[in-house]
């Protein structure tokens, strides 16, 4: 089981003919993702990676029954690509694009209220539902060879730390149900709590890993939500304990503004909710393993 997408999800790639889109379409296909079409305005009727290319998402979805898209459109057109996915009636849209203007995203988020589309990202690695025998679903740019199917849900604001974490878990024999990168921008689609709710509803997810960083209050909200609503053990990591205030640490959303959004604040909120926080990023896997043992779930989470 999984959240958001699985091996049967039919996917279109928006911006499939760009260098980035092309490269990652091949990697996603290798992983087993059921990509059924590509979309590039003006290139409708063509073929790319053996897939039909359409001018619009609506045409692509109509012809193929696709319900999800992955966006590799450059920043100037990425917001419009999300709107197009929403209006075409897709259920899920994963936006990889970094540096989308903030005011474009404000309008997009406003427009998405009340729509059925669930947006993952932007400025994130996407999501992976690991599967066996080439049956997984990889939407985005996560490396394909680190995943192990299983029962731990991973949600993260950082691409690089998601890969690190998944690799640690897989090496320890702990498989993942789904891994979701919600992205490093301040204005994004799904937040921690949205993803945690989805994991809570997934009976095959037994435990959770949350990877946060400085900036905003998503981690504090997640801590409060986990305390109130979650039946599943969780561990966390927060990056940026040494980040200076007022400086943007790579991600547009990773900035301590007006003294708010510090790592200490977030670690304290998680600890208050009884959620163990790994001291360094390479201890995330071990922290989870220890917590699972305490909760008697370790054996259940080991992949056979």
């Amino acid at each position: 089981m999984s959240i958001l997408a699985d091996e049967n999800t039919k996917v279109v790639i928006q911006g499939i003919t760009g260098a980035h889109g092309l490269k990652h379409t091949r990697l996603m296909l290798d992983f087993g993702t059921k990509i059924v079409a590509g979309v590039t305005p003006g290139k409708g009727g063509g073929v790319c990676c053996g897939l039909p290319v359409f001018d619009t998402v609506r045409e692509a979805a109509g012809a193929t029954g696709a319900t999800a898209s992955v966006i590799f459109v450059p920043p100037a057109g990425a917001a419009e690509a999300i709107l197009e996915a929403a209006d075409a009636g897709l259920a899920l849209c994963v936006c990889i694009t970094e540096n989308i203007p903030v005011q474009d995203m404000l309008r997009v988020k406003h427009y998405l209220r009340g729509k059925s589309l669930r947006l993952v990202g932007p400025n994130g690695p996407g999501l992976v539902t690991a599967g066996v025998n080439g049956k997984g679903c990889k939407l985005g740019i996560m490396p394909g060879d680190i995943h192990l199917p299983g029962h731990v849900g991973v949600v993260s604001r950082s691409g690089s730390l998601t890969y690190e974490t998944i690799k640690q878990l897989s090496r320890a024999g702990i498989g993942q149900s789904s891994s979701v990168g919600i992205g490093g921008d301040p204005i994004r689609g799904l937040n921690f709590v949205d993803v945690l709710e989805a994991f809570e509803a997934d009976p095959e997810t037994y435990a959770l890993v949350l990877i946060g960083e400085i900036g905003g209050n998503g981690e504090q909200e997640a801590a409060a939500w986990l305390r109130e609503h979650s039946s599943k053990p969780a561990v966390a990591f927060i990056g940026g304990r040494t980040a200076p205030p007022g400086k943007r640490m790579g991600h547009a959303g990773a900035v301590i503004a007006g003294g708010k959004g510090t790592a200490a604040e977030k670690v304290a909120a998680l600890a208050a909710g009884g959620i163990p926080v790994a001291e360094t990023s390479d201890l995330i896997g071990a922290t989870l393993a220890g917590h699972l043992q305490k909760r008697g779930l370790y054996a259940k989470c080991l992949a056979r």
Binding site: A76, H110, S158, G250, S281
Partner: protein, 402 residues
């Protein structure tokens, strides 16, 4: 991206937001002739992109053109250190000369992105002229806030409500409203991240009537939107950025200069922060934040490594890359090139994992350079601190070497 006060005020003028009459000068002579043209008592304001200029001696009141020339001579070419610049300070290359005004009250007005509400937020206060965070901490009831619907925009009635709430005199409510609307138009049309008028001053205009004027102006812009704001991008003043940050920005690297002794070269913002934190945990202080970007090639890594080498106070470097999309062998090649080019003796620990890491580690081992390989971040952080400590020990006891 931030711009200077005089540039922000030029934008204000274009949008009809009242600012004092003023001229910029880059030399004392220019300042003197500007003072002659403006006439009357003036303020001479150092143009640096940081708050706290007043307390740092960056703003001077003068009465005559020769005084203006002297004030400019004292400020120009100087490095101004304010509570926001840090110890390095920022260089003063221009001064802004403005007519000194008789102020009867100071208000606060700003626009910024409220990421929790996912809206632009207008913040106003009857207590201007001081740090708004101080007001927020001590007297939060004195701060009024309106979140703006991105489709409807800011409306006049919202500004009228605010005007009443912060105590704008009735005769000036219309002017306050038009300033607010103009500010919002500027914010959306130019892709701002932040606009601040502090203070928005109550003064007497030329005809002896009360009026509002933006005495100070601060503007920051969304870096992600600069591609469609070429006129704004052209306002960038490289001299206001820490030199290595400016160099890294030009090379397409995400870089922040810090004060510590251990440099770090990492790909991925999250892992970069985690690496800094691990360095601290093992007793070091991170000397920089660096996210190279996942498409890093040999020359990107080399440039990144050279920037770290140029950082003052660096005693060792930790490289930490997880190769998903990134080819770690290209990163290794860049590190080797940089070390060879600089004949660097600094301790270097490299932890590479994932795509191309077998080749990368072989390249490093075969290079003959003094580079240690680590299997994990924790191990790497521990190793670099030990190497730095032993290097220091050798340096501080030269006799022991003989």
């Amino acid at each position: 991206m931030n711009i200077h006060e005089y540039q922000a005020k030029e934008l204000f003028r274009q949008y009809g937001i009242p600012v004092p009459d003023g001229l910029t000068a880059a030399t004392p002579e220019e300042a003197e002739s500007a003072a002659l043209r403006l006439g009357g008592p003036l303020v001479v304001k150092a143009q640096v992109q940081a708050g706290g200029r007043g307390q740092a001696g960056g703003v001077k009141l003068v009465r005559t053109p020769p005084e203006a020339g002297n004030a400019a001579a004292a400020l120009l070419g100087r490095v101004l250190r304010t509570r926001q610049t840090g110890a390095a300070g920022k260089p003063v290359h221009q001064v802004l000369l403005e007519k000194a005004l008789d102020i009867s009250h100071e208000y606060y007005l700003s626009l910024s992105i409220d990421s929790a509400a996912e809206q632009v937020a207008l913040v106003a206060s009857g207590e201007g002229g001081m740090d708004i965070e101080e007001v927020a901490a001590g007297r939060p009831e004195r701060i009024c806030r309106v979140n703006i619907d991105p489709f409807i925009g800011l409306r006049a009635y919202q500004l009228l409500e605010l005007a009443g709430a912060i105590g704008i005199p009735p005769s000036l409510k219309r002017q306050f409203t038009s300033i607010g609307l103009a500010l919002y138009r500027l914010f959306t049309e130019k892709d701002c991240a932040m606009l601040e008028i502090n203070p928005l001053a109550l003064v007497e205009n030329g005809e002896g009537k009360p009026a509002l004027v933006a005495l100070d102006a601060k503007a920051g812009f969304d870096a992600g939107a600069l591609f469609r704001q070429p006129d704004i991008a052209a306002l960038r003043d490289r001299a206001q950025e820490p030199p290595l940050e400016a160099r890294a920005f030009d090379a397409g690297l995400n870089y922040v200069s810090l004060k510590g002794n251990i440099g770090c070269l990492v790909i991925g913002a999250g892992l970069a922060m985690a690496t800094m934190d691990a360095i601290k945990l093992f007793g070091g202080e991170p000397g920089n934040f660096l996210d190279c970007g996942s498409n890093s090639k040999t020359e990107d890594s080399r440039e990144a490594f050279e920037i770290i080498l140029a950082e003052p106070g660096i005693e060792g470097i930790l490289v930490n890359v997880f190769g998903g999309i990134t080819q770690t062998d290209l990163v290794a090649a860049g590190v080797i090139e940089a070390l060879r080019r600089h004949r660097e003796q600094l301790p270097v620990v490299v932890r590479l994992e994932g795509t191309g890491s077998a080749e990368a580690n072989r390249l490093l081992l075969d290079s003959g350079l003094n580079v240690q390989l680590a299997g994990s971040l924790t191990e790497g952080a521990e190793m670099i601190m030990k190497l730095v400590a032993s290097q220091k020990g050798r340096k501080s006891r030269p006799g022991a070497m003989l």
